[in-house]
Amino acid sequence: MSKIRTTIREIWGKVAGIWQVADGVARGKAVEITEYEAEELYHIFGIIVLGSFVGLPSPPMQISLDLMPFMEKELILMMEKVDTAHEPISDLFSVLDID
């Protein structure tokens, strides 16, 4: 009897595990584009604030400098972006799952 109970518990555990993974994947998939959008917005924010360093119209220098201490994430993102900068369309297609 206890063996059956153990087996049922194991099966239930596995089903729950599969459900959790499936749920995680579905949720991940659901927000994939929003996440990409957020990342792009971070990127735009970075370009706006730090644009003067790459010759773009930018806010008065003191605004950029005052925000600099909080911009590490944007700076790293901008550097990473350099890798995909030459192929922006392929970057977008991979996010949208277009083959």
């Binding site: 949720r27 991940g28 927000v31 929003t34 806010p59 003191q62 605004i63 201490p69 590490e72």
Partner: protein
């Protein structure tokens, strides 16, 4: 304010002296990089208040010092918050940044904020402004910065909305962190709004325009008036300095018609040294006092 050489420093020294003699506690601040107050008062002045009369102290603002101090603070903050590798090459950039356009006038804003806080118990803070271009940039910093800040605030809020949505759907079990960048932008916004309101408020800030009876000074004064109107700052007084005769150049009296005037007659001798300034005030006591009271 006024064109270079019209007598802004002398006029501000006379104004400060007049107020101090009336029993008010006055601080005269030289924001002009030319630092004429040292010559006028024949004293070595610095950022430490030098008492030239019982009620009157004078200080000079060193822009270079403020720029250096500001950049040092930013660099320190960055090194504190960034990981080691990101902050690795910063020194190199900061050596260049200190020559960036715009920092000169921001240094004056930093000094202005500091002085306002340090000497808030005084009756009057009289600022001897730099020549037109730099002075206008100084007054333009708050409204210009606010335009950028409002846009950046909207963008940041959009980012946070999306980030929160992702966190909610993915059920990420972490505490909702406060966005430090958003907090900083809000802090800056409040700061600039406070400055803008101070400059625009006629009860807090009296902007006086000094001009001479010559066409160039008059033409530049018209441009100053128009620029100040654009950024919502009103002139509280027109100081007609080095006056010899009645106005013959006043554009039919239209441009400055509503602005109270103070006339400083031309002095035969240079107004250098506190004794000369006092002599000038005594000599013209009746007319200046009458005009001041009217203002």
């Amino acid at each position: 304010m006024g064109k270079g050489g019209v007598g802004k420093s002398t006029a501000s020294a006379l104004n400060s002296l007049f107020l101090a003699q009336k029993g008010f506690k006055v601080l005269l601040v030289s924001l002009d990089p030319a630092h004429n107050q040292s010559d006028i008062f024949k004293r070595q002045l610095s950022y430490k208040a030098t008492e030239v009369l019982p009620n009157l102290s004078v200080i000079e603002v060193d822009q270079e010092h403020w720029i250096k101090q500001y950049l040092k603070d930013v660099q320190h903050q960055i090194k504190k918050t960034y990981s080691y590798l990101t902050a690795f090459n910063l020194d190199r950039y900061f050596k260049v940044i200190k020559h960036s356009p715009g920092l000169e006038e921001y240094a004056l804003i930093l000094a202005f904020k500091d002085i306002r806080k340090r000497f808030e118990n005084l009756d009057f803070l009289v600022f001897d402004m730099p020549p037109t271009a730099l002075a206008l940039k100084f007054f333009n910093i708050p409204p210009l910065s606010l335009i950028w800040i409002e846009h950046m605030l909207a963008l940041r809020e959009e980012i946070i909305k999306k980030r929160d949505l992702v966190t909610k759907i993915k059920i990420i079990k972490k505490e909702r962190e406060t966005d430090k960048t958003l907090n900083k932008i809000n802090e800056m916004r409040n700061d600039y709004l406070d400055l803008k309101n101070t400059f625009e408020s006629p009860s807090n800030t009296h902007v006086k325009l000094v001009l001479n009876p010559d066409k160039l000074s008059f033409a530049e004064s018209l441009r100053i008036l128009s620029f100040l109107k654009d950024i919502n700052i009103n002139l509280s007084q027109l100081i007609l300095n080095k006056m010899k005769n009645v106005l013959s150049w006043d554009d039919n009296g239209n441009a400055f018609a509503d602005i109270p005037r103070l006339i400083f007659p031309n002095s035969e001798e240079p107004l250098i040294g506190i004794d000369r300034l006092q002599e000038f005030l005594i000599k013209n006591n009746n007319s200046i006092e009458k005009q001041m009271i009217e203002v």
